[in-house]
Amino acid sequence: MKLLKRVYLGLILFFLYIPIIVLIVQSFNAGKSRAKWEGFSFHWYEELIHDPNIMNALVITLSIAVLAALFSTILGTFAAIGIHAMKRRPQNLMLTLNNIPMTMPDIVTGISLMLLFIFTQVERGFVTMLLAHITFDVPYVILSVMPKLKQMNKHSYEAALDLGATPMYALFHVILPEVMPGVITGAMLAFTLSLDDFTISYFTTNPLVQNLSTLIYSQARKGIKPTMNALSALMFVALLVLLLVVNRRTKEEDA
């Protein structure tokens, strides 16, 4: 029975990860053929670094991710503090409204943002993609800051006022330091989500401003170059590390 359990679990994990393993193995394949192993090599990684399109997309991806994480963390943190201060009923309403965008399919979010930009005659490009990323990141930030606010002693803020702090001083010197772990988790989550987004980015940018995932997509239509294997492998590893860190932080906070 125990053996059966292990085999079952092993099979599931195998089928789950086999595509990614193939991808990573292929990225080290010296030859161009995807069917034949022609020896181990870093060739495609080197080519990757020297490809201006890819490097350009990398810069855009990282700038979008950093900026989106920054703005959504600021917006989301203060929003969470505001929602937390509300009475129960409006608070529940706000949290429900906050949850809906997260459950919405990316394609819906992407197309509706695209329509909004067309409707308002905003030219699509870097700024619209950034705005879109901030939009879908904010709910996640609110969701990771909220539990920290709930854990806080409800009189902490009043205690600060009592000791002579203005509401502003209390916000920055008492509330923010107390919820900081949640804020950092939220920022990392926003960064990760932004890094890995394809669908929403695809609808909110123009063909000249590409992030890595939209670039991979447009190149794949012309036939996949082995450099894409290397790029995908790198993205996988980067996201894996980020997710592990975020998970670990959430677990520590819960403990």
Binding site: N153, H155, S156, E158, A159, A160, L161, D162, L163, G164, A165, T166, Y169, V174, P177, E178, M180
Partner: protein, 357 residues
């Protein structure tokens, strides 16, 4: 006496979602007085404290501080400090920075802050705890830091909201004495909120008994214990027997089927009254010499005394005595006139027979 009034509440009322929390509260607090707001949960005592602290605003009425109306002044501009129920220490700051929080806001020089923090830690018996994280401290220690953090600002009034509620009995008793000693040494006015009548009796100069958003009685611990104004106060402060009776004439009251001589007068003739007798004031005597005779229904050993429930005159009498009588035996009961306390019956429906300890 008027100029000694530090805080006055004038006609304070407060409602939450249509529920009356405070109903026309009038109260004044003198300088250096230890005042306790005492009552069951939901009686409005914490709301009263929070209105003085500035965390809530009254719907109507004024809060006067040193003869100035401070009703609209925010908490950070009031010369009062608060010790909160669950301490509300700042977990991201160590002990020293928690205590120094208010002083830093006043832009006090560093060496003076350090000196004051040292003094406060000394005062609350936590010398050398400067760098400890507040989360590593026990409940009692956290409570002391919370008191130090408030007192270091030298407030004119210290507000304490059930500060000892989370501590165990022994620690609570120690802290009661310490707080009282601290208050006398520093000469600061304390306004203390508790539901524990024993705590109120031990520490206070003045007790304010509250129920249902109203003040029932204000007085010294002794006057409240000895002369409760109605059945609720009598029941809430200490243990008591409350019997419905009829005032036959001045200094003679009829209850439990017998006429008892008493010392109260001015209630009129044949008027319904409530009669209060403390359990320790009932004497057990021989069956033939008592004013009323009864049968002992149950005996409980309480440490200092025995608590006996005695059925006499179709009522149950709670009696405290240091000598035990066996269950089922017949005894006589006697009460000296001075220990019979007569009250006007409560107009409202009688509160349920709940006892605080």
């Amino acid at each position: 006496m008027e100029e000694q009034r530090l805080i006055s509440l004038e006609n304070i009322s407060k409602h939450y979602d249509g529920v009356t929390v405070l109903d026309n509260i009038n109260l004044y607090i003198r300088k250096k007085e230890f005042v306790t707001l005492l009552g069951p949960s939901g009686c409005g005592k914490t709301t009263t404290l929070r209105i003085i602290g500035g965390f809530e605003t009254a719907d109507s009425g004024r809060v006067m501080f040193d003869s100035k109306d401070i009703s609209g002044i925010p908490p950070y501009k009031r010369r009062v400090n608060t010790v909160f129920q669950k301490y509300a220490l700042f977990p991201h700051l160590n002990v020293q920075d928690n205590i120094a929080f208010g002083l830093k806001l006043k832009k006090m020089p560093k060496d003076e802050i350090a000196r004051k923090v040292d003094y406060m830690l000394d005062l609350v018996n936590l010398k050398g705890y400067h760098k400890r994280s507040v989360e590593s401290l026990s409940g009692g220690q956290q409570q002391r830091i919370a008191i130090a953090r408030a007192l270091v600002n030298e407030p004119e009034v210290l507000l304490l909201d059930e500060p000892l509620g989370a501590l165990d009995l022994k620690l609570r008793k120690e802290m009661q004495l310490e707080l009282k000693a601290m208050q006398q040494r520093l000469g600061i006015t304390f306004l203390y909120v508790t539901h524990d009548q024993e705590e109120a009796l031990t520490m206070s100069d003045t007790i304010v008994v509250m129920q249902g958003g109203r003040i029932l009685q204000i007085g010294t611990p002794k006057s409240i214990y000895d002369e409760p104004q109605n059945a609720f106060v009598a029941n809430f402060i200490g243990e008591s027997n409350i019997f419905p009776g009829v005032m036959v004439r001045d200094e003679l009251v009829h209850f439990c089927g017998v006429d008892f001589p008493c010392v109260d007068s001015g209630f009129g003739e044949d008027k319904p009254v409530d009669v209060v007798i403390r359990p320790e004031d009932i004497l057990l005597v021989g069956e033939d010499v008592g004013q009323v005779t009864g049968v002992i229904k149950s005996v409980l050993f309480k440490g200092v005394h025995y608590e006996m429930m005695i059925d006499a005159g179709h009522s149950i009498w709670k009696v405290h005595s240091t000598t035990m009588q066996p269950e089922g035996s017949r005894v006589g009961l006697a009460v000296v006139p001075f220990n019979i306390h007569i009250m006007h019956p409560m107009e409202d429906e009688k509160p349920t027979e709940e006892k605080a300890q």
